[in-house]
């Protein structure tokens, strides 16, 4: 377990670069992370629905949930858990907003990042 002090926060983008009630995808070889923005908060989940691995980032965001575009499972953004009666859980990642920027928690060996060229 990493102590909070060892956690490295990576700046991902500005909050307003994520559409309100929308999402952005952070690409990784080990599975993309979806960053969601609701009315008041930002959340990060593995971009993989626990049902059939649909890209949650492409779903409709409403309240504190996202609806998977493939088969309409509703995933709670704060817990990653599917809403009843469906059962399953998408992995969560630590994320925070500081002075209008979004930071994703990463291990301390992750040194830098940058946005794609496009």
């Amino acid at each position: 377990m990493n102590k909070p002090s060892e956690k490295l926060w990576l700046r991902i983008c500005a909050v307003d670069e994520i559409p309100l009630l929308g999402s952005r995808v952070v690409e990784r070889d080990s599975g993309n992370v979806a960053i969601f923005r609701t009315d008041s908060e930002v959340f990060a989940l593995l971009d993989r629905c626990p049902h059939k691995a649909g890209p949650l980032s492409q779903g409709i965001v409403h309240g504190n949930s996202v609806t998977c575009p493939l088969h309409s499972w509703n995933i709670d953004l704060s817990t990653g858990e599917a809403r009843a009666p469906d059962v399953g859980c998408a992995r969560r990642y630590p994320v925070r907003v500081d002075s209008g920027d979004v930071f994703l928690g990463a291990s301390n060996t992750m040194k830098r990042h940058e946005r794609s060229q496009q």
Partner: protein, 819 residues
């Protein structure tokens, strides 16, 4: 501020259902206290008969265990009977001295069995059949006693008799009427029922009036004596001659009662702080004793307790079903018939099948089925809808499958299906799974079944079948999906209401719509947001804001999402006509972006499958073609045949007609997808007969057909109008589509829209009324005017971020940080 207090008197199905509905609407509004006379939490009274028959145990029929009350913060007083309401002080008092103040009071005191006022009614061994205590007493009696007499040949009496017989007693049923279930069946069906129950070993004493219950020396009942002097031995007598509403408490509090606590259409008593639901109430002079009406009442009552103030209870049409395993009977409405009615009867006594349909003024008003009840749900639906049945009359007796409608609307033969038979082909759900979920989880509606089993939750074509399974499993407690349905769980408003509000109050944004219509959720859900978005932009073209975040991904990204998260790209190819230059570019793009599959679609277009989202904009740019709209609730394709240019049979230039229509309708959003086809002669190679608008050229002009569908259930388009010129084709087709765009519910195809409003309605508005047709056509052209091609707009940079992922260059395992 302290929460207002809601006190519920009656811990039964009606009271608790109201509380459940209320919690769903306004979870934290009240401090809730429930009083129940019985020492049990809420259980499913309908299932007492299976308990008596030994098919289920008490624990299996509990609907809300004690933990449910705790979880919802409800104070539960079991085994306490409220004896007094002090309306001036707003306090109720229980028999043990408990006092509880209220701000709102809900009376759900139910009913009590009617006891015949005859000598011996209070003897040992005389029971009624109402609650679990009665049931347990009967089960105990069956262990030691031999002769049971059930007084009353109604639903409850027969279920009691059947249960006692299964528990090994000799059972006689005494009935005052000339036939069994005389409130539910006609004499013929009653006779068939009697015969099959007699085969199970029950004895019937019909047209007999009970005079006295005779005691032995020990003061226990020993026989039943009748008015005519006959006497039969009896160690157990079950009185099941009817129920009467429990109104004593309400009457003592001075509430107006008349064979039930009199309530308004919002379930309010004469004291506005006091509501009443269930078997204890009298609504428009009727006291209901079946569960479906109680649930409808609960919904309306909860809505008003939650201060939503919408919804009215207008009474229920009833259907009944006997819960005796192996006996199928069904009746609804005016099944006896009489003055001014006609009967259609099918009678096969040897085969044990009898069906009678009662028709008045070309409408089905009653049905009585015995032996084969598979079409009960369908008849009940026709009856409730009150639709004219002229067109069905020849076949109606043979059931819904006989009219060839076993798809979308369709109930095929749910009862005849095996448990292992698949009901929902999309999600692979078998009948057994659905039945099990209904029984174990206490489901009552199609929506419940959808949520728990996923059946009927994808394409919806098995909804009718699921409804029928519900009906067969639940019998009288089945709740039909209401005809006017709320858009989704975020609101109680129907599609019409939402649309009307947007039109009449000039609402232009989602926020304005949700605020004005008092949405329960902050920003809707995945069901209502796309619908509201469509209503906004279709009602106020060029004014309302189209919100990309309220569109399904396909319409947001302008490409079709595939199961692996890649997309498919279908460029526009009007009328299915292309050229070498386009084909070369398509081939180049497929090479350059390593597109794994290139396929011709059903709509005569070329599909590039497996495109990565981040490549979409570049793919479109390199193609240099417009969006083919193969992904939206929008115009899709206009399919054409070769037509008079080349074909030796062609009568008109169908290809050009198709291109013109597709040009006119480009970028048109609609309630659902819209497909057209134009054929050059009646051989109809473009398959215009299964399109939303199909055009067939004939030598003297063009025939227009509407409402066809080649999808989930094949529907043949109906003839709409015949016109002479291509201009007229555009005007009539455009006006029809605009009517559909203005009136259809979101996600309603033309065929379902027409089934709802009637083809005649569309003809009146478009064909007969020239001024209205032109107005519709102009509104369509105005809505489409100046709409940009979505691909071109994105190549120019619109919503660029939608397509650009954020990349992490240093790859480390974020997983170590996963919480």
């Amino acid at each position: 501020m302290k929460k207002p207090r809601l006190v519920v008197v009656g811990n039964g199905m009606a009271g608790i259902r109201t509380v459940e509905e209320l919690l769903a609407l306004a979870p934290d509004m009240y401090e809730i206290t429930v009083f129940g006379s019985e020492p049990h939490p809420n259980y499913n009274r309908i299932l007492l008969s299976p308990v008596l028959a030994g098919e289920q145990s008490f624990n299996e029929i509990v609907l809300n265990p004690v933990s449910w009350y705790e979880d919802n913060g409800i104070r539960l007083h079991m085994g306490k009977t409220i004896t007094r309401i002090d309306r001036a002080r707003r306090v109720v008092m229980a028999d043990d001295g408990t006092e509880e103040p209220y701000d709102r009071l809900l009376l759900a005191t139910g009913s009590q069995p009617f006891i015949l006022p005859i000598p011996g009614k209070d003897l040992d061994g005389v029971v009624t059949y109402r609650d679990i205590r009665d049931t347990e007493r009967m089960i105990d009696a069956a262990k030691t006693k031999q002769h049971a007499v059930v007084i009353g040949g109604g639903l409850l009496g027969l279920e009691a008799a059947n249960g006692l017989k299964l528990r090994g007693m000799d059972v006689s049923v005494v009935h005052l009427g000339d036939w069994l279930l005389d409130r539910q069946l006609d004499p013929t069906a009653g006779g068939l029922l009697r015969r099959s129950l007699e085969e199970r070993g029950l004895t019937f004493l019909l047209a007999k009036q009970t005079a006295e219950l005779v005691a032995n020396e020990a003061g226990h009942v020993s026989s039943v004596r009748f008015k005519d002097g006959d006497e039969v031995p009896a160690d157990l007598v079950v009185m099941a001659v009817g129920i009467r509403p429990n109104t004593a408490l309400a009457e003592s509090a001075g509430l107006h009662c008349n064979r039930g606590i009199v309530v308004s259409d919002v379930l309010q008593t004469f004291d506005p702080r006091i509501y009443a639901v269930g078997e204890c109430v009298s609504h428009r002079g009727i006291a209901y004793g079946l569960v479906a009406p109680l649930f409808e009442q609960a919904k309306v009552c909860a809505n008003h307790l939650a201060q939503m103030g919408i919804g009215q209870y207008k009474g229920s049409v009833l259907s009944t079903k006997l819960k005796v395993t192996g006996i199928d009977l069904f009746s609804a409405g005016d099944f006896m018939g009489g003055e001014g009615t006609e009967d259609i009867v099918l009678s096969d006594p040897a085969g044990g099948v009898y069906k009678k349909l009662v028709i008045k003024d070309d409408k089905l008003v009653g049905a009585c089925l015995y032996g084969d009840t598979t079409d009960g749900a369908w008849y009940f639906k026709l009856l409730r809808e009150g639709r004219t049945i002229n067109d069905l009359r020849d076949h109606i007796m043979f059931g819904e499958s006989a009219i060839g409608d076993s798809g979308v609307q369709g109930q095929s033969r749910a009862a005849a299906m095996q448990d292992s038979d698949e009901v929902c082909g999309c999600n692979g759900v078998c009948k057994g799974t659905i039945v099990k979920a209904i029984k174990e989880k206490g489901l009552f509606t199609v929506d419940d079944v959808k949520k728990h089993t996923k059946a009927a939750s994808s394409c919806g074509s098995c909804t009718g079948l699921v409804e029928q399974i519900l009906m067969n499993t639940l019998g009288g407690s089945f709740q039909e999906t209401p005809k006017t349905k709320a858009v989704c769980g975020c609101t109680d408003r129907t599609h019409e209401e939402v649309r009307r509000a947007i039109r009449e109050h000039h609402l232009l944004t989602h926020r304005a719509a949700y605020d004005f219509l008092e949405w329960r959720t902050p920003n809707g859900c995945a069901t209502c947001r796309p619908a509201v978005n469509y209503y906004l932009i279709s009602t106020w073209p060029h004014e309302a804001t189209d919100d990309p975040q309220s569109r399904f991904i396909n319409e947001r990204a302008h490409a079709n999402i595939q199961k692996d998260g890649t997309f498919s790209v279908v460029p526009q190819m009007k009328g299915g006509v292309t050229n070498p230059s386009e084909l070369r570019r398509i081939a180049d793009v497929a090479d350059k972006y390593h597109i794994p599959m290139v396929k011709v679609t059903g709509g005569q277009r070329i599909d590039l499958l497996g495109v990565k989202k981040e490549d979409l904009v570049r793919v479109w740019r390199d193609l240099g073609m417009q969006s083919g709209h193969a992904y939206g609730k929008s115009i899709r394709t206009v399919k054409t045949c070769v037509g008079s240019e080349f074909c030796r049979f062609g009568t008109q230039n169908s290809t050009q007609m198709g291109i013109d229509l597709e040009t006119m309708l480009a970028n048109m959003w609609a309630p659902h997808k819209v497909k057209l086809a134009v054929s050059g002669c009646p051989r109809n190679c473009a398959e215009a007969g299964i399109k939303d608008v199909g055009v067939i050229a004939v030598d003297s002009g063009w025939e227009l057909y509407v409402g066809g569908n080649g999808g989930i259930k094949t529907e043949v388009a109906e003839f709409f109008v015949k016109v002479k010129t291509p201009e007229e084709v555009k005007e009539y087709a455009g006006a029809f589509l605009q009517l559909y765009r203005e009136e259809a519910h979101y996600l309603e195809r033309t065929v379902h829209y027409l089934a709802r409003v009637g083809l005649d309605h569309a003809k009146r508005r478009v064909v007969d009324d020239a001024a209205n047709r032109r107005a519709l056509y102009e509104r369509l052209l105005y809505a489409l005017e100046g709409l940009p091609d979505p691909w071109a707009a994105r190549i120019k940079g619109t919503q660029a971020r939608e397509y650009i992922p954020i990349k992490l260059i240093t790859e480390r395992k974020l997983d170590e940080q996963a919480v």
